[in-house]
Each structure stands twice: as C-alpha cells, then as structure tokens.
Amino acid sequence: MSLADLLSLYSIIAIWGIMFINIFLSIGGIIYMLKVNRTDGKIPLKEYPMVSIMVPAHNESIVIRRTVLALLNFDYPEDKYEIIVINDNSTDNSAEVLKKIQENYPSRKLIVINTDHQVGGKGKSNALNIALSVAKGSVIAIYDADNTPAPDALRILVENLMSDEKLGAVIGKFRTRNRNASLLTRFVNIETLAYQCMNQAGRYYFFKLCTIPGTNFVIRRSIINQMGGWDTKALAEDTEISFRIYRMGYYIKFMPLAVTWEQEPQKLMQWFKQRTRWAKGNIYVLIKNFKYVFDENAGPMRLDAFYYALVYVLMLTSLICSDIIFVLGILGFCHVTLGGFSSLLWGMAILLFLLNVLLTLSVEKNEFNFESALLILLMLFTYSKMWVFVVLNALVQSIQDKIYHKEVVWDKTERFEEVDKKKKKKKFMG
C-alpha cells in the first residue's frame, strides 16, 4: 500500500465519518426546526426582568445608527431594558451618530461609553467587560454593531431564558442582511443557515448543546459575574463563554424564531480576515478546552470539544490530503490503487452535501430554489475549499502570536454602506 493509498484511505474515512455526524445533526436540526416553527416561540412572563443590551462598536459609524434604531424598536417593555453602546476607541464619527440618536430619543435608556486607546481598543471582550461595569440588568443581551434584530427577538429570547432555571443563555438565529450584495455573501448566507443554524439546532435537539454565536443572545448576569466577565485573551469570546457556561452546570438553548439580520463581508479579503479571526478563536478554545473531552464531569461540552477536535484536526488534515492527492493525481505524480476507491464515493458525498444544505434551506422563506442548488454545487468547489486556507492561516498566526506574545486587538470587519431598495426605487421614480 503506497503513501497515496494510505492518505486516501484516511481522507475517505475521515470525510465520510464527519459527513455522517453532520447528517445526524441535520436530521435532529430539521425535526427541531419543524417543531419550533409550529409555535410562535413566546412564553409570556408575569414580570419581565431588566435587560442590559450591550453593543460593542469600533469604528461602526456606517451601521451603528440602523442597529441602535432596531434595538430601540424592540417589542419589550421600554423601562425594562437599557442599551449600552461601547464606542471603543473609534476614530470615525460614531460618537456623533450615537449622540444624535440619544438626542432624538431622550426618554430611552441609551448609554454610550466612549473609550480611548488607554482603556479601550483591546478587543470585543474588553469592551463587553467595560459595558458590564455599568450594566444594571439581571439579563445581559449582546448584539453586534451591524445587527438589525426583529422586533420580537429580545422578547422571545428573554421569555425562553426565564422559563428554565438551568438555562444559562438563549441564542437566536442570525441571517445575512446583504445576501444579494455579491456571490460571496450568497455563499455566506447558505453557510450560515446550513452550518451555523441547522448544526446548532441538531446539537441542541440531541444533546441540549449550543455554542453562543457572538450576537443575538441573552445570558444571565449572575453567570457572567460568576465567571468574572469575558476572557480578554479569547478571540472567539462567544465560543469560550459557551464552554464556561456548560462547565458551570447550565445549558444553552437555541431559539430560531428570535431572528437578527447582520451584515456579512462582501469582499474576499474581509471575509478571509474575519474567518481567520474566528478560526484562531476556535483553535484557542479547542486547545484550552480539549482536556474536558476526557473529563467525565464536563457534561455535554465534552461532545462539543470533541466535535471541534474533529473539525479542526480530522477534517482539516483529511481535506488537505484529499486535495493534494487530487491535484497530484491530475498532474500524474501519484496514482491511487486502493481497492474500492472510486468516483462513486465522491459522487455520493457531493449528493449528500447538496441534499444536506437544501434541507436547511427548505425551512426558510425564499431560499429554497434552483439557483440555491447551483450555488451549493459551486460553493462546494470554491468557497468550501477556502476554509482549508483560512484554518492554515489561523494556525500560522496563532503560532506567531504565541511566539511574539501578541496582544488581542480589534480586528474589525470592514462595513459597507447598504442601499435601501425602497429608497433606491423612489429615487429612480422621482
């Protein structure tokens, strides 16, 4: 058996193994989604808790107005929530934009904390810790600066959180606001629905296991206090906090009816930078928490740590191997002589990938169509391949950070001005 055979065998087993895990999660996910979609997601409370909505922002003047207005528009008792925007060492006119909103809504609890480079500018976790120091709510809600949540999102999240004492946090679903902006955002939209939404639903359905996505979620203040705030070293503070919640004996619920819309990167370089940051964060979390895979007291998070290990070690290496063998095979440098190794395997894998993603899109409005099917196939051979480079880049950067002891800083995703279709139409008509 040659090295090419050995690596092919490894790739086949790893890829098919991970694919069947995803199929399993998708089946759980669709059952949960169908079940939830039959309700409105609301569990009315006698008394609503005080909620502090925290919005970390760094040079977000392009999108922050829209976000804050959406937050002010929540279908939630006005006196029961406050909005804390941490304008973290911004060099743009975010402060002015926010001040204007404060002036326009004098009766609302909108707190703006402007930090300078001494206190701020040290990443999202640091900004959230600053906001926490002034927050009054017993429930903390987090929204990114580019989000426009649906009016009922906060109510659904809070009502679900208060319905079970063992719940540490409730997360909602996020959608791509600018999905038609470019081919890249279309891919991101499909990826978000398939691998972040359906995957979360499946894990929650089978194991009551979720990972906080960084935005559109509520968490008990007591838990944050107990864990001493956010880990400022973590780049993926959301994943990091999820692991800590499970270790404390709470669980996280996924509620897909609480929807927020966010702006995704429209250009490849921005996307690459953002995903590298995410991957670096996840690698940090994996290294920090992998020990819990073998800890019987770690509860369901053992599965999550194991899943991360599968994705970042098994999936990554198997994809690298199979891609190298594929390229070398085309160039005629190597030849796989493995018994049973055939194109049928790849054909079936592609079919399952297509159906799996289509299944995810089928529960959404205006997503399930022929165009999406073509996009999925195109995505498989282009967008999905870039994931390998993202993770490799993240690995290299993580090693460099470790060697040169680099501090965590804002690695902000560049925002884009979005044109409102209705306004555009009016302009044209006028």
């Binding site: 089946i27 989604m33 979609n37 409105d40 959406a70 819309w261 493995l338 018994g339 079919l351």
Partner: protein
C-alpha cells in the same frame, strides 16, 4: 649546480621506474589473457556496436560450451600461437605484426592438413583454423602474403544473401557491408550465396586452413543464424556434422495472477498433441498460500505431471546497485513458495546480459539448467573482461531462438533453443505456433529427459534418473487436486483489511446514502409544505413574525 643535477637525476629515475612499471603492466596484461578454445580478435578501439556483435558471438559460442577468449588485436598479438581456432572479427585497426602471426598459424595449419591427408579415421583434433569475418583484414592479409590474384573485390555496398538451413528451408535477406571480397581460387568449400551487383559469391568459403565470411552485421538475424551454423561446423574438431540439439516450447513469463484458465487451455492442447513443453513462471515472494496462488499452482502441477517442466524466471531487477545477496534471498523465497505448492522448478531463466556480469554469473552458478531470454536487464553492466566467465560453471544452456520468420521456430540445431510463447496472445495464434514447432525439422525435446540441479540458501534440488530429490528426499510430481479452504483467512493488517473491505463498504454506503437521501427529501417536502401553510395562515391573520426589517 649540485641541486640542478640532483633534480635531473630524480626526474630521470622516476621516468625509468614509470616506464618499467608501464612495461610490466603491459606484459602482465598480455600474459593475463586467459587461454580458451577459441580466440576472437577484434579491432583496436572497436566501437560499441562492434562490441555488441562480439558479445553476441561469444554468447552463442558459450551456448555451445566453448571457452572463448576475446581481445583487441594489439592485446593478443603474442597469444595467437596458443589458439588453434582464431576468429578475426571485423578487424580494421591492428598492428602490422598481426599479419605475420596469422600467416604463421595458417602455414602451420596447412602443414597439419597436408600431413593428415589420406590418413583414414583422422579426427582433425589438432587442426588450426583461421576464420576472417569481414573483408578489410583479409584483403590486406592476402596482399601481404602474395595472394593478390586469389580474390575478387566488389565496391558495392548491398547484396542479397541466400542460405539453406535444411533441404526445404532456404532463407534470404538483403545485407549491407562497406565493400565485399570473395575468395576465388582453390576453394575447398563454399556455402550459401551472396549476390552483389551481378557477381555471385558465397556466405562462407574455405581454402585449406583459411575460412572467410564476408558479412559482419550480427543484428541481421539471417547473418547471425548462418554464422552460428557455419561456426559450429568450422570449430567441430571431428569428422561429420556437429551434434544436433533440440528446441523447447516455452510458455514464457507466466505470472501467478494471469488467467489460470487460459494457461490450462494451452497446456491441455499441448498434452493432447503429446508435445513436451516448459513453463517459465515469474517468482512470487509472499502470499504463496492465497487461493489464487493455489489455483495457479494446481494448473502447474497438472502440467508437471503431464510432460510439462517448470522453470523459474529471475526476479525483476529494480536495484541500481545490484545486491546479489538480496536477489539470492528472493530466489530462495520464491522457489520455497513454489515447492511448498508441489511445483518443482528445474531451471532458471535470465536476461541475456546476465551472462556478462560477475554478480549475476554467481547467482546463475547455483542452477545447472539456464534458459536465456532475449530481454536485457537495463540495470546490469557488462564486465570489461576477455573471456566468457560463465563458461566455468558448465551450465546446460537453452538459448533464445533466432527468429527467421513469423513462425518463430528455430532453424538451428547447434545448441538448445527456446521458442517462447506469450500466453496472453490469441489462442489460435498460439496453436499455429505450436503447429510450426511440431512441423519444424528441429526436434522438440522434454526437459525431463536431462538431469537438472540447483541450490538456494535453504534447499538443494537434484533431478536425475527421472527422480526429483529435494534436500536429498525423493518427491513425486504426480498431480493432486487442491482442497480449497472456503473461508480462507487472508490475515491482512488493519489497513489492508479496510482497503479490501472498501469495495464491500461501497455497496453498504450506496444503501445508506439512498436511505439518507430519501429521508432528506421527505423532510424537504414536509418543510416546504409547512412553510406554505404557515405563510398562507399568517397572511390571512395579517401577522408579521421575524420579517426582514
């Protein structure tokens, strides 16, 4: 002054020592030329192509069990008188003294011939014979010995050669040479015809002790075959024709993974025709007990019990630095595997250049019967030697046939020849070739009729008086059918097992993918149906939920 004289003295001494040393080496080299039955003299600084032809001649003399000495003209100048059979092959550059030396030998040869003229039952064992192959040297030699008018020249470069191998087998071919020369006076013997520009000459002719063959191109099959036939007669020291050797039907390079059914079909055909045959099997180094190998060996045992003889081909050499110990280990393993299955190889097949390398000669020395194939081992270098080293091992040779037509059969009886068959060829073609062998004037022979022996690192085989002895114990070559193990355990390692099972898993995977796909499609239809319902119900109620702001 003294210093300068001292330097000159030292320099002169070094020169003298160097000259003496060089002379000693030259002398030593000349003296080291081994004595043999035949001396082949070739041009000083002969080209590679000429050396190939010389090695080809040496190869065929070896098959006829002659010890051959071959060297460039200047090197064997002082050795000529030691040899009775001298071949001057295409000698174009040579020292002038060569003519005198050859003349001495010719005159002595002629004297011996005259002395035994009229003597009955003279064997001619002490005859001295000179064979000139090519024309340059002979022309100069005849001129220098005052025989200018005993030959005819032709400056034409092409001719038509006709030669009879038997009463019914006249073969002809176009031939090329720089120029031609034919002896014309007092010919004692001439054979074949060579037509050059309207002039008719011979392929081989003789005047007393002097023989001449005007053609030198040993790549031409007809020239080579005719040369071998004439040379065999020429060096036959007794009266009458040389001994007649047979040809062997050889199913060549049969691999254990080839179609055993096809092999059985050919064997059955040969058995029905009652013709002896040889199967040259490729060596196998592991998995000798696998069912496929058992099936293959069952066919071989059947052949072995019905007139077929098995020989083993040498392992395919892939070592740039040849290691004879490793090859011997491989051969030992392979032979052991076959013998454990009741198959007893009687000989060994090797590429033809294995005859000219010390390491491969050493490997071959373990086998009495050696079949030489037409192929060459590209990783083996021929030794720069002056004798056929392999002669000392006294092998029973089977030479590759020199094909003169499409039938592929032998037209020579000078030594044993192998007519090789590729078993992957069309059955009808194979049958035609077998028929040609049967019809040939060269008899077919069984390897079971002669004795064989070999030894490996672990075993000794001896076949004599129709009995096979392995490590001095008698073994039988009777055919016994194999009892196949239905549940044979391959004992593959984990990875090999996974690889093997992958084909089976593929089928299961197809079923799993079909089930998952059906499940996914069902979910997709359900989700779409629910979506439509929810949409219409909500539209009716005029509600908005989670809509895009």
């Amino acid at each position: 002054m003294m210093s300068s004289l001292w330097k000159k003295g030292v320099f002169a001494t070094i020169c003298v020592i160097f000259l003496l040393f060089s002379y000693d080496i030259a002398q030593a080299k000349e003296e080291s030329l081994p004595a043999g039955d035949i001396l082949i003299i070739y041009s000083d600084g002969a080209k590679n192509d000429d050396m190939k032809s010389i090695r080809s001649i040496v190869e065929y003399f070896t098959y006829q069990r002659f010890q051959v000495t071959y060297a460039p003209a200047s090197k064997c100048l002082n050795q000529i008188e030691k040899f009775n059979f001298i071949v001057c092959y295409k000698v174009e550059r040579y020292p002038k003294e060569l003519v005198d030396k050859l003349k001495d030998r010719e005159e002595k040869g002629n004297l011996i011939l005259r002395e035994r003229e009229g003597i009955k039952n003279s064997t001619g064992q002490n005859d001295i014979r000179l064979l000139f192959v090519g024309n340059e040297l002979l022309r100069y030699y005849l001129n220098e010995t005052g025989r200018k008018d005993t030959y005819m020249d032709s400056m034409k470069q092409t001719g038509k050669l006709q030669y009879n191998f038997s009463d019914f087998d006249l073969k002809e071919a176009l031939v090329k040479e720089e120029n031609f020369l034919f002896l014309t006076e007092n010919l004692d013997y001439q054979v074949g015809s060579l037509e050059v520009g309207g002039e008719k000459g011979y392929f081989c002719a003789k005047v007393e002790s002097l023989y001449h063959i005007p053609l030198t191109d040993m790549n031409n099959h007809l020239i080579k075959a005719a040369f071998i036939k004439e040379a065999a007669k020429w060096k036959w020291p007794y009266n009458g024709e040389p001994t007649t050797y047979a040809q062997y039907i050889v199913l060549d390079k049969v691999y254990p993974f080839q179609d055993a059914q096809k092999l059985l079909e050919i064997i059955t055909y040969l058995i029905e025709k009652k013709e002896p045959f040889v199967i040259s099997v490729m060596p196998i180094f592991q998995h000798g007990n696998y069912p496929a190998m058992q099936r293959f060996c069952e066919v071989l045992r059947y052949a072995q019990a019905n007139g077929g003889t098995i020989i083993m081909h040498s392992p395919t050499n892939q070592m740039p630095d040849f290691d004879k110990e490793i090859v011997n280990e491989y051969i030992t393993t392979a032979i052991r595997i076959y013998m454990e299955q009741g198959v007893y190889p009687m000989g060994f097949e090797v590429p033809k250049n294995w005859m000219f390398n010390k390491d491969t000669i050493e490997i071959m020395s373990r086998f009495r019967t050696v079949l030489v194939s037409q192929e060459e081992d590209a990783l083996i270098q021929s030794e720069d030697v002056t004798t056929n080293l392999v002669y000392k091992d006294g092998h029973q040779w089977i030479a590759p046939v020199i094909e003169l037509d499409d039938s592929g059969v032998s037209y020579l009886t000078t030594n044993s020849f192998a007519v090789c068959f590729d078993i992957t060829e069309d059955m009808e073609k194979i049958k035609d070739k077998i028929q040609a062998c049967i019809s040939s004037f060269v008899p077919l022979k069984s390897l079971w009729d002669i004795n064989h022996s070999f030894w490996t690192d672990e075993d000794i085989m001896e076949y004599k008086n129709q009995i096979i002895f392995i490590n001095k114990k008698r073994v039988e070559k009777d055919f016994n059918a194999t009892n196949y193990d239905e549940n044979f355990k391959y004992n593959r390692n984990t990875l090999q097992r996974y690889s093997k099972d992958l084909s089976r898993i593929n089928k299961r995977l197809v079923i799993a993918v079909a089930i998952v796909s059906s499940l996914f499609l069902t979910f997709i239809f359900t989700a779409r149906h629910r979506n439509k319902q929810t949409f219409f119900i909500k539209k009716e109620k005029g509600k908005k939920k989670g809509g895009k702001p």
